[in-house]
């Protein structure tokens, strides 16, 4: 019973984010612009959204073809899968505040490092 409120919160927030931040909106936000700002924005959007890979990878692929950089797409994909702001309440319940905070912060930093390296390696 203790998990019921946090499950409802996740469901509610996921619905709200996906309902407003549609694939088209994401394309508009990170597809057109290049450079480090686009990469940071992509990392941020990836961290707050919660999209199944079957939707996220086609979206990332089309963004890449329409001119987004490898660095931006890597940042988006990596934070999307590794950082989960929406699921933080559940993670805290299972693993504690400190673990959750550290895992998500390190994942975000790690994602940015991965993105920069991807940009260099796959130029």
């Amino acid at each position: 019973m203790k998990t019921a409120p946090s499950l409802l919160i996740i469901l509610g927030i996921v619905g709200l984010i996906l309902g407003t931040l549609t694939p088209e909106t994401i394309s508009k936000l990170i597809g057109a612009e290049a450079g480090y700002w686009a990469t940071l924005l992509a990392a941020f959007i990836g961290a707050i959204t919660f999209i199944p890979s079957l939707v996220a990878f086609p979206l990332a692929g089309s963004l890449l073809r329409s001119g987004a950089t490898i660095m931006t797409i890597s940042a988006f994909i990596t934070t999307l899968v590794m950082v989960g702001l929406v699921t933080v309440p559940m993670e805290i319940k299972s693993l504690g505040k400190k673990f959750t905070f550290l895992r998500n912060s390190f994942s975000l930093i790690g994602a940015l490092i991965i993105a920069v390296l991807m940009g260099v390696i796959l130029k």
Partner: protein
């Protein structure tokens, strides 16, 4: 009263949904569709995960977990955690209670971080979708870099959290 307090945020979200329905019916419709489909997914997978956790607690003795995933499991522990994470499973939030139960049974923090990281970013079905839409080179380079980052993260978090292990 405490029940009401627990459900404070869900109630707030419900109000936001109502506001959306009145002023932005298009967004509200998408939002509700997404919420229902995730609700269905959770309802289907959650029970399976709790059964799995129950089975682990009953069938696999703590000393085995300690031997396979504990502080002295070394490279073998890293490999087992990585393999467990890459198995085709559900979304990451389902792995949290599983990770907590493994930690309680004696798995090391390094291995749990590697397990969660692989579950999140290196799952096999997800990689196949990635190859299809982003190409083999992208997928392989991201895989290798992510694996390295996850292992480093595991080592650092183990150092930082060793003292707090009892409280988890």
């Amino acid at each position: 009263m405490t029940t009401l307090k627990q459900f404070k945020t869900p109630i707030l979200l419900g109000i936001i949904y109502l506001v959306l329905m009145v002023w932005f019916p298009g967004t509200a419709k998408r939002t509700i569709t997404v919420t229902l489909s995730y609700g269905k997914e959770m309802a289907l997978i959650m029970p399976a995960v709790f059964i799995l956790i129950g089975l682990i607690e009953v069938w696999i003795p703590g000393d085995k977990i300690q031997k396979w995933l504990g502080a002295s499991s070394g490279i073998k522990g890293v490999f087992i955690s990585f393999l467990m994470g890459t198995l085709p499973t559900g979304p990451l939030y389902l792995a949290f209670p599983l990770a907590a139960s493994l930690l309680k049974k004696g798995a090391s923090i390094t291995n749990i971080v590697i397990f969660l990281g692989s579950w999140a970013a290196l799952k096999i079905p997800q990689l196949l979708v990635e190859i299809k839409f982003l190409g083999g080179a992208f997928t392989i380079v991201r895989f290798v870099l992510t694996l390295i980052v996850i292992i480093i993260m595991g080592i650092i978090m183990n150092i930082l959290l060793k003292k707090d292990l009892e409280t988890i």
